[in-house]
C-alpha cells in the first residue's frame, strides 16, 4: 500500500477510522495451541492502531499458576569496570513462542546516569547496528518497517532510568536479540565503590490528572515468568581491593590479582526482581583526586573526582533540626516499611541532646507526630519510636504532600535543617517532584534514603542533588545501619558550599554538574569537563564552611591520568544533558539536548535508536503486540500496588 498523505483532512480522518474499526473487529478472545498446551490469549485494544506507540493492543497470556510463555527469554549482562567507569553490555533475548508473528514490547530499567551509546540487533548470525535518530523520526521508521513486515527494533527513553524496547515482526519460533551498551560512573562513598544494575521497574504511582506516566504491566501473583538474568562484572579497581561483597545477590568471586575481581551471579539467584549491587572498598585516599582523561582531535574530556580533606570535620557542627519523612504508601507495605522503620528508629536513637526533630508520614495525605520540631529528649525519642512503630501503609504515593509538609514545616533559623526522606520513590511524576523540592528547599538540605529492592534511584539521587544533600540506599537484604551511620557522618560534618574552582591555567570549559554540588567529607563528587592543551597543574577548590572560605589543592596531570577512557566524551555529554534537563527542558534546552545526544550518539528523551533488517520481509500481516510484564520487585506486594487496592 502506498502511504497517502492527503491534503483533505476529512479523508484522512475517514481512513484512520477504518483502521481503528479493522482492529476492533478482531475477536476479543482466541485460542492458541503451544507445545500441546491450550492457552487462552486475551486480546485487548488500547489507542489507535495506525500510529500506536508501544502501548497499543496487546496479547496477554493467562494460565493457572504456572510459567507463562513470554517473549523475553533471558537477559545477559556483561560489565567491565575500570576504576570508576562502568562499560556495560545488556543483551535481551526475545523469542516468539506463539503460532503467529509478534511484536515484543518491554519496559526496563537502567542506571539513572547511563549513557546509552550502542545498539545492535541480532537475527541468527547477522548483527545489525542501530542508528541514532530524533525520537519521532526513529518511531516513524520503526512503524513503517513494522507495517511492511520487516524485523525492526526501537529503543526509547521514558525516564533517565526507564527505557522501552520494541521488537517488531518476530516470526514464530524465531529469536531476535538486542544488545545495548552503556557507560556510567560508579558511586563512591567513604572509600567504598558501588556498581549497581537494576533489573526491574517498580510500580509507579501517578497522581490524578498526571498523564505522563510510563505504563508497566506486572506478572500476577498466580503467574511465573520464565525469563532470567545472567550477570558478570569484571572489576579493575586500579588500586588494591580490600573487601568486595554483594549485599543483594549470591555471587561467585574470582580474584585474578589484588586490583582485579571477576564476579558472576550464582545460578541460584537469577530472578530479575531486585537491583544487583556490588561494593568494594579501596584505600581511603585512592579516590581522593582520581583523574581520567581522554583526548580527541578537537580537544579532550576529563573526569575529576574531588573530595574535601578530612580536616574539614574539625569545624564544630551547628545545632540540627532533623525532619524525618516516611513513605507509608501501599508499595511500602511489608518488608520495605519494616526496613524503613528500623532505619528511622536508628536515626532517632542517634539524635544528639541538642538536636530537635519531627516525624512526618505520607501516602494519600501527610500528617506529623506534632506541629513543630521538638527537642530530642529521651522521652520525646521514645514517643517518636512508638509513633513510628504504629504507622501502617496504605494508599497512593502523594509525594507532593510529603514534600510540602516537610519543607513548609516551621523551621528554626538558628539550626542546620536536615530533611530526610525514606521512600521507594515509586512515583511517575519525578520531574514535578524534583521541581517542587527545588522551589521549596529554602535553607534546608535533603538527604534521601532509598528503601527497597529496586528503588527509583533517579528520583532519590535527584532529590538529594537539588536538595544539596546526598542519597543512600538500603536493600531489603541488608542492615540499615550502614546507610543511617553514613547519614550521620554527613550531617555531623559541615559541607563545603558555594564551590569555586581555579583551574590553574588549564583551559577548561563546560564543567558538569553545574552548579557544582556542595562537598561532604567522605563523599567525593565526580565532575566532567572539556579541556585543551597538555599540562600538569594544581587545581584549587574553594568553598564556604562555617562562614569562612576554605581551600584545598588537587594535583592534575593531564599527560598521565589514572585512566584514559574512550567513554569520557559520552559521559560528559550525558552529564551535560542532565544539567540541561534540570534547567527545565524548555524549548531551547530541549534543542540543545537533542543536538548533544545526536552528536554523541546517545539515547535521550529526544533521541532513540532504531534498527531495521531490510534484507527480508516477513510473510503475512504484521503481528500482534505482546507486552512483556515485569516481575514485582522483591518485597513489594502486587495487591497494594497494581492490584485492586491501588487507587
Amino acid at each position: 500500500m502506498k502511504h497517502v498523505k492527503m491534503g483533505l483532512g476529512l479523508l484522512v480522518a475517514a481512513m484512520a477510522g477504518c483502521a481503528v474499526r479493522l482492529h476492533e473487529a478482531v475477536p476479543q478472545g482466541v485460542s492458541r495451541t503451544l507445545r500441546g498446551d491450550i492457552l487462552v490469549i486475551e486480546r485487548s485494544i488500547r489507542g489507535t492502531a495506525a500510529q500506536d506507540g508501544p502501548r497499543g493492543g496487546e496479547l496477554r497470556v493467562k494460565t493457572p499458576e504456572r510459567e507463562v510463555p513470554l517473549p523475553l527469554k533471558h537477559t545477559d549482562v556483561k560489565a567491565q569496570v575500570t576504576i570508576l567507569v562502568g562499560s556495560v553490555t545488556v543483551t535481551q533475548q526475545y523469542h516468539n513462542p506463539f503460532a503467529e508473528r509478534i511484536e515484543a514490547v518491554y519496559v526496563f530499567p537502567l542506571p539513572e546516569n547511563a549513557a546509552v551509546r550502542d545498539f545492535v540487533m541480532t537475527i541468527g548470525e547477522r548483527k545489525i547496528r542501530g542508528i541514532i535518530r530524533e525520537r519521532e523520526e526513529a518511531q516513524r521508521i520503526y512503524h513503517e518497517a513494522r507495517r511492511q513486515g520487516y524485523a525492526a527494533s526501537l529503543l526509547t527513553q521514558d525516564r533517565p532510568n526507564i527505557f522501552t524496547q520494541a521488537v517488531a515482526n518476530i516470526e514464530p519460533g524465531k529469536q531476535i536479540d538486542v544488545s545495548i551498551r552503556y557507560f556510567h560512573t560508579l558511586k563512591v562513598a567513604e572509600g567504598e565503590v558501588e556498581f549497581w544494575f537494576p533489573t526491574v521497574v517498580g510500580p509507579r504511582f501517578n497522581p490524578a490528572g498526571y498523564a505522563g506516566g510510563v505504563p508497566v504491566s506486572y506478572v500476577r501473583p498466580d503467574e511465573i515468568s520464565g525469563n532470567d538474568i545472567a550477570l558478570e562484572v569484571d572489576v579493575d579497581a586500579g588500586v588494591p581491593i580490600r573487601r568486595l561483597e554483594s549485599p543483594s545477590h549470591v555471587v561467585r568471586v574470582e580474584r585474578p590479582g589484588p586490583t582485579r575481581a571477576k564476579v558472576t551471579l550464582s545460578a541460584n539467584d537469577r530472578i530479575p526482581n531486585k537491583d544487583f549491587v556490588l561494593r568494594w572498598r579501596v584505600a581511603d585516599d585512592a579516590v581522593r583526586a582520581a583523574l581520567a582523561a581522554f583526548r580527541e582531535e578537537h580537544g579532550g574530556y576529563f573526569m575529576l573526582v574531588v573530595q574535601p580533606p578530612a580536616s574539614l570535620a574539625d569545624i564544630p557542627p551547628q545545632p540540627r533540626e532533623m525532619v524525618f519523612v516516611l513513605d507509608c504508601s501501599g508499595s511500602m507495605e511489608g518488608e520495605p516499611l519494616a526496613t524503613a522503620k528500623r532505619a528511622l528508629e536508628r536515626c532517632l536513637r542517634r539524635l544528639g541532646p541538642d538536636d530537635t526533630f519531627q516525624v512526618i508520614r505520607f501516602s494519600d495525605a501527610a500528617s506529623a507526630m506534632g506541629d513543630r520540631p521538638i527537642p530530642a529528649t529521651p522521652e520525646n525519642v521514645r514517643r517518636a519510636i512508638r509513633y513510628v512503630e504504629g504507622l501502617q501503609s496504605e494508599g497512593g504515593t502523594m509525594m507532593e504532600y510529603g514534600i510540602r509538609a516537610a519543607l513548609d514545616f516551621p523551621a528554626d533559623p538558628g539550626r542546620y535543617r536536615i530533611v530526610s526522606f525514606m521512600t521507594d520513590g515509586y512515583i511517575g511524576n519525578d520531574r514535578e517532584i524534583l521541581g517542587l523540592v527545588k522551589a521549596r528547599l529554602g535553607q534546608a538540605r535533603v538527604f534521601s534514603f532509598g528503601i527497597g529492592s529496586s528503588v527509583n534511584r533517579y528520583l532519590l539521587e535527584g532529590m538529594a542533588r537539588v536538595g544539596r544533600g546526598v542519597a543512600a540506599f538500603v536493600g531489603l537484604d541488608e542492615s540499615s545501619e550502614r546507610a543511617v551511620d553514613e547519614l550521620y557522618e554527613r550531617v555531623e560534618r559541615p559541607a563545603l558550599s558555594d564551590i569555586r574552582i581555579d583551574w590553574g591555567g588549564m583551559e577548561v570549559e563546560d564543567v558538569c554538574p553545574s552548579p557544582l554540588p556542595d562537598l561532604f567529607v567522605g563523599r567525593p563528587v565526580v565532575m566532567f569537563g572539556r579541556f585543551k592543551g597538555r599540562r600538569c597543574v594544581t587545581v584549587r577548590v574553594s568553598g564556604t564552611v562555617g562562614g569562612a572560605r576554605r581551600e584545598f589543592a588537587v594535583e592534575v596531570d593531564l599527560d598521565a591520568p589514572a585512566l584514559r577512557h574512550e567513554a569520557l566524551g559520552c559521559l560528559w555529554a550525558r552529564a551535560k544533558i542532565e544539567d540541561l534537563c534540570e534547567e527545565g527542558c524548555e524549548e531551547e534546552a530541549a534543542g540543545r539536548v537533542k543536538r548533544l545526544a545526536l552528536e554523541y550518539g546517545l539515547v535521550s528523551e529526544f533521541t532513540s535508536f532504531v534498527a531495521v533488517d531490510s534484507s527480508e520481509r516477513t510473510a503475512g500481516e504484521h503481528g500482534t503486540r505482546v507486552v512483556q510484564p515485569a516481575l514485582m520487585p522483591k518485597g513489594v506486594k502486587y495487591e497494594t500496588t497494581v492490584g485492586e487496592r491501588r487507587p
Binding site: V4, V120, R129, S614
Partner: protein, 160 residues
C-alpha cells in the same frame, strides 16, 4: 469528495514506479514497460498529493584493496535515503557526529590473522528509500595488518 477518495484508493495500490524501472535496468532488463506503467498514474499522484511509499532496501559497500590484505577501512556514504541499520563482519561503527540526513561515515577493523584481499563486501547498509535512490561512496582510509596505509577504492554494490 467521494471521487477523490476512490481515486486515492486507486493510486494507493502498490504500482510499479520509476525505481522499479531503474532496478530492472540495473539488473540488465528492459525498463521501458515498467517506466511507462509508472508514469501513467503520476498525474493522479501529483494531483492528490500522494507521497512516495517508503521502501526498505539493502545496499552493499565494497572496498577493493587489490593485492593488499584489508585490515581496516573507513568510508563515507551519501544517499538521498535514510540509513536504518548497518551490518558486516565485523559490524561497522559510525560517527554519530557526522551523521546528517543520508550521510554517514562508517568504519571497521579486523584483527584476523588473514584479512581478505581484493574486492570485499565490508558493509551492508539497511536503507529506507523514497523516490529514486542515489548513492555515492568515498574511501576515507584503508590499512593492511599492522596499520600500513594502502591504496584502495570503495564502491556501492547493487541494491535490492
Amino acid at each position: 469528495m467521494l471521487l477523490t477518495a476512490i481515486l486515492a484508493g486507486v493510486v494507493s495500490v502498490r504500482r510499479p514506479d520509476i525505481v522499479d524501472a531503474y532496478r530492472v535496468a540495473l539488473a540488465g532488463g528492459d525498463p521501458e514497460p515498467v517506466a511507462r506503467a509508472s508514469v501513467q498514474t503520476m498525474f493522479l499522484a501529483v494531483f492528490l498529493g500522494v507521497t512516495e511509499e517508503k521502501r526498505f532496501a539493502v545496499v552493499d559497500v565494497f572496498v577493493d584493496s587489490g593485492d593488499a590484505p584489508l585490515a581496516a577501512w573507513q568510508v563515507e556514504v551519501t544517499a538521498n535515503a535514510r540509513i536504518v541499520g548497518m551490518e558486516g563482519e565485523p559490524v561497522p561503527t559510525y560517527d554519530p557526529a557526522a551523521l546528517q540526513g543520508g550521510r554517514i561515515v562508517l568504519a571497521a577493523f579486523s584483527t584476523a590473522e588473514k584479512p581478505p584481499k581484493g574486492r570485499v563486501r565490508v558493509a551492508r547498509l539497511h536503507m529506507m528509500e523514497a523516490g529514486l535512490p542515489d548513492y555515492a561512496v568515498k574511501l576515507v582510509a584503508a590499512a593492511a595488518p599492522g596499520g600500513r596505509r594502502i591504496e584502495a577504492k570503495a564502491e556501492i554494490g547493487g541494491t535490492r
